[in-house]
């Protein structure tokens, strides 16, 4: 039996959040954590609330904190996260909880929107595609794959402290995705918007973001590139 301890909070009925225990029969299978949640919802308690969609690690819906580490429930096998027979599931830290494992991601999305995450190039587009060499395109690898699951930003102490002013690893990864795109011409404006003590420079290189990213991306490295661009621009 798997001993699952689940964070519960229903704003309509609970004064405060609490942990609820479920002994779940997994029949010894190495299920994904999402499968365990589906099992609990179907067979134990239909009111357990979480987000899920693709169940294959590309939509970014089910970012959760499992035994202390952020990750996607659908691609986290029990064998990877469970020590002994205990699985503690909590919502992503640092964001307001709406209910159970569902957090309010408004601040996270607002930081993403702040970096103007879309290609900017006012010159008239050609009749075909804008050309880009494979080498130029390779600059976007490791950046464009972000699924906005928020595992990184909600594991970042700097984001916990200043979620309104520090853009956070996810937003900055996307900021750099457009700075690095040979087709984008708004480099100067983008850097100007980031050039303050909080937006970028609150990153202290703790690298929690790198450790938890379910897509194996490296926001710290991208932030380093932005810093270099900002600093070389200043001199």
């Amino acid at each position: 039996m798997l001993q699952v301890s689940l964070y519960r909070y229903n704003p309509e009925t609970d004064e405060a959040p609490f942990m609820q225990d479920f002994a779940v029969d997994t029949s010894g299978r190495d299920l994904m954590v999402l499968d365990v949640l589906e099992l609990i919802k179907a067979e134990y308690d239909g009111s357990v609330t979480y987000r899920r969609s693709c169940r294959e690690g590309v939509c970014g819906s089910d970012g959760l904190n499992m035994n202390g580490k952020n990750g996607l429930a659908c691609v986290t096998p029990l064998s990877e996260t469970v020590k002994g027979d205990k699985l503690v599931i909590r919502p992503l830290p640092g964001l307001p909880v709406i209910r159970d494992l569902v957090v309010d991601m408004s601040l996270f999305y607002a930081q993403y929107e702040k970096v103007q995450p879309y290609l900017q190039n006012p010159s008239p587009a050609p009749a075909i595609e804008r050309l880009q060499s494979p080498e130029e395109r390779a600059q976007l690898d490791g950046l464009y794959e972000c699924i906005l699951c928020a595992c990184c930003s909600t594991s970042c102490p700097s984001f916990w402290w200043n979620p309104d002013r520090f853009i956070g690893p996810a937003g900055l990864l996307q900021a750099y995705r457009f700075l690095a795109d040979s087709r984008d011409t708004a480099t100067e404006e983008r850097l100007s918007k980031l050039d303050d003590p909080f937006s970028v420079f609150r990153c202290h290189g703790i690298q929690n973001c790198v450790n938890v990213c379910p897509k194996g991306l490296n926001p710290t490295k991208a932030i380093g590139h932005i810093r270099t661009m900002l600093l070389s621009r200043a001199t």
């Binding site: 229903n10 704003p11 309509e12 009925t13 919802k41 179907a42 067979e43 308690d45 239909g46 009111s47 609330t49 979480y50 987000r51 899920r52 969609s53 693709c54 169940r55 294959e56 690690g57 590309v58 939509c59 970014g60 819906s61 691609v75 096998p77 709406i98 209910r99 159970d100 569902v102 991601m105 999305y109 929107e113 103007q116 995450p117 879309y118 290609l119 190039n121 587009a125 009749a127 075909i128 595609e129 804008r130 050309l131 880009q132 060499s133 494979p134 130029e136 395109r137 976007l140 464009y144 794959e145 699924i147 906005l148 457009f178 795109d181 087709r183 984008d184």
Partner: protein, 587 residues
């Protein structure tokens, strides 16, 4: 109940919905997208291999007419040729727009968009060998496309109602669609979203089957709402089983693997597709490959202790190709099959993937019904695009890479047409309170119900009926048994009980409403599948093994009221090219 008003409301925040929304938002009309998940969590994100289009990058001589020929043949001749012509000819413009928006396509040495071979593709109307026509961003094309569209909607300040669920259509006294009833999932508030144009871009319903590549959210919400509102459903018997779902997990492995040179092997290590499709081999139509796989398994040449799957061999491509062209597949295979494709083949099995059928529409996205004399009639106020629509460019079998093109081209076309209509003026009479109450009655009943069965076991029962009775191969007798089981299930599904009555983020309530949508979709599928007594495209009957052009070179139409099946003509009159006449289909 509060009313919110818009010029255009799009239900669904996937590729089709966001492309339509972008078009409308750019035009300055007051546009809203209602999406039950944050838009980038929509199922378009899972599309892998690419978007097929004759942009003449891999082959400077490539021609959209060749793409059209392949698509008509792939559809087993019940794709509408005017719609296919429109999609294939407008396609390049739509792709270049996406690139200009920033979509990070993979590139050729010349700096153009990288294109890979996909199934069913040819040069020179089937005479010039395999084409490479699928534009790709590695094997994450859907992700790249969906995020690009979301980003450009942010840029154009589209209004998003994220994590809102559309419950049912509101119709006025003239039968015109004038918006939807929707629930804000976070607060539980129910609202009437009033609109001059309501666009369904609600995606597919692969969750009617137990084994599917589809996301949990693909529950046929648009089909359910349409059928309940008296809108017919077209070609619902046509479900694509993707040849390569990962055995056990059901997650998708792109056809691009075979495009890049991978191939299927049976338990003897034989490349069996050489026997079934001597020319195209592993790149035959998906229906052909899926059936061949099932035959291999049934004839005892399957892999594994139960001989119930085959394998996809990729290791001969080398680590460099796999990591650069198919990085997502390597990741999925390691996670869900515990197999490293660099070293060993991936266990795969045909898995429910795509709904070719849907709400019948014209090329402008206008939803259609038939009038008393059997002629097409536009349903005022209602539009559909993407997987929920049946325009029909896929007919009885969709070609790989054509779904993303479909959703971009017809999302765009719907937006363009609605923009024009709004400019000319749309006059629809307001819904009365009775009309609005009627649309809210299903939700009202669910909320009031005190007893009933739980959602999860009912859903599982439905999925198992569909999996067992309406799979890759079908027989009349067995399908009739399935239909009887569904009849028994209907009342139980209608009386499903809420496990949770709270307002805040009540996913149990959403799942109950979704189950009823799944059921409507499944029943439509079952009844038309039994009625179409021939084999065509993805619809393979063991008791009617031949294609029957005399009786069935047509669309099926399913009418929810009375559960009736009728026929509708296929369009054979493209505007700029000669008609492609039906021929025997071989690869």
């Amino acid at each position: 109940m509060r009313t919110i008003s818009f010029d255009g409301v799009i239900v669904g925040g996937g590729g089709a919905g966001m492309r339509a929304a972008l078009q409308l938002a750019q035009s300055g009309y007051k546009t809203a997208v209602i999406s039950k998940v944050f838009p980038t969590r929509s199922h378009t994100v899972s599309a892998q291999g690419g978007i097929t289009c004759a942009i003449a990058s891999a082959d400077p001589q490539d021609d959209w007419r060749w793409h059209m020929y392949d698509t008509v043949k792939g559809s087993d001749y019940i794709g509408d040729q005017d719609a296919i012509e429109y999609m294939c000819s407008v396609g390049p413009e739509a792709i270049f727009e996406l690139e200009h928006m920033g979509l990070p396509f993979s590139r050729t040495e010349e700096g153009r968009i990288y294109q890979r071979p996909f199934g069913g593709q040819s040069k020179n109307f089937g005479e010039g060998g395999q084409a490479a026509r699928t534009c790709a961003a590695a094997d994450r094309t859907g992700h790249a496309l969906l995020h690009t569209l979301y980003q450009n909607n942010i840029k154009n300040e589209t209004v998003f109602f994220n994590e809102w669920f559309a419950v049912d259509l509101v119709k006025n006294q003239d039968g015109a669609v004038v918006g939807v009833i929707a629930i804000c999932i976070e607060t539980g508030e129910t609202v009437y979203v009033k609109s001059k144009a309501t666009v369904f871009a609600t995606g597919g319903a692969g969750r009617i089957y137990a084994s599917t590549t589809n996301a949990h959210i693909n529950t046929g919400d648009g089909m359910g709402m349409a059928l309940r509102a008296g809108v017919p459903a077209q070609d619902m018997e046509m479900w694509q089983f993707h040849p390569t779902g990962i055995y056990g997990a059901g997650t998708l492995v792109t056809e691009g693997c075979r495009g890049e040179g991978g191939y299927l092997v049976n338990n003897d290590g034989e490349r069996f597709m050489e026997r079934y499709a001597p020319n195209a081999k592993d790149l035959a139509g998906r229906d052909v490959v899926a059936r061949s796989m099932v035959l291999e398994i049934l004839e005892g040449r399957g892999c594994g202790p139960n001989g119930d799957h085959v394998k996809l061999k990729l290791d001969h491509l080398g680590e460099d190709v796999l990591e650069s062209r198919l990085p997502g597949i390597c990741e999925l295979s390691r996670t869900f099959a515990h197999v490293d494709p660099v070293k060993e083949p991936i266990p795969v099995v045909p898995t429910c993937h795509y709904m070719m059928g849907g709400i019948p529409t014209n090329v402008h996205g206008q939803a259609l019904t038939v009038d008393a004399s059997g002629n097409d009639a536009v349903i005022p106020g209602l539009y559909a695009c993407g997987e929920v629509a049946c325009v029909s460019v896929h007919g009885a079998n969709r070609l790989g890479g054509n779904s993303l093109l479909d959703l971009v081209v017809f999302g765009r076309a719907s937006g363009l047409f609605i923009e024009k209509s709004l400019r000319e003026g749309i006059e629809l009479r307001d819904a009365s309170q009775t009309d609005i109450d009627a649309a809210g009655s299903r939700l009202e009943a669910l909320n009031a119900r005190e007893s009933g069965e739980q959602v999860a076991p009912l859903r599982q029962e439905l999925q198992e009926i569909m999996q067992n009775h309406f799979g890759v191969f079908r027989t009349g007798e067995f399908m009739r048994e399935g239909i009887a089981k569904l009849e028994n299930l209907r009342e139980r599904v209608e009386n499903v009980a809420l496990a949770d009555r709270s307002n805040a983020f009540n996913t149990s309530r959403i799942e109950c409403l979704e189950l009823q949508n799944l059921f409507e979709t499944a029943e439509a599928t079952a009844i038309v599948a039994e009625a179409r007594d021939e084999s065509r495209g993805a619809h393979a009957r063991e008791d009617f093994t031949e294609r029957d052009d005399e009786n069935w070179l047509c669309h099926s139409l399913y009418h929810g009221e009375g559960k009736k099946v009728s026929k509708r003509s296929v369009n054979f009159t493209p505007q700029t090219v000669e008609t492609f006449q039906p021929m025997a289909r071989s690869y």
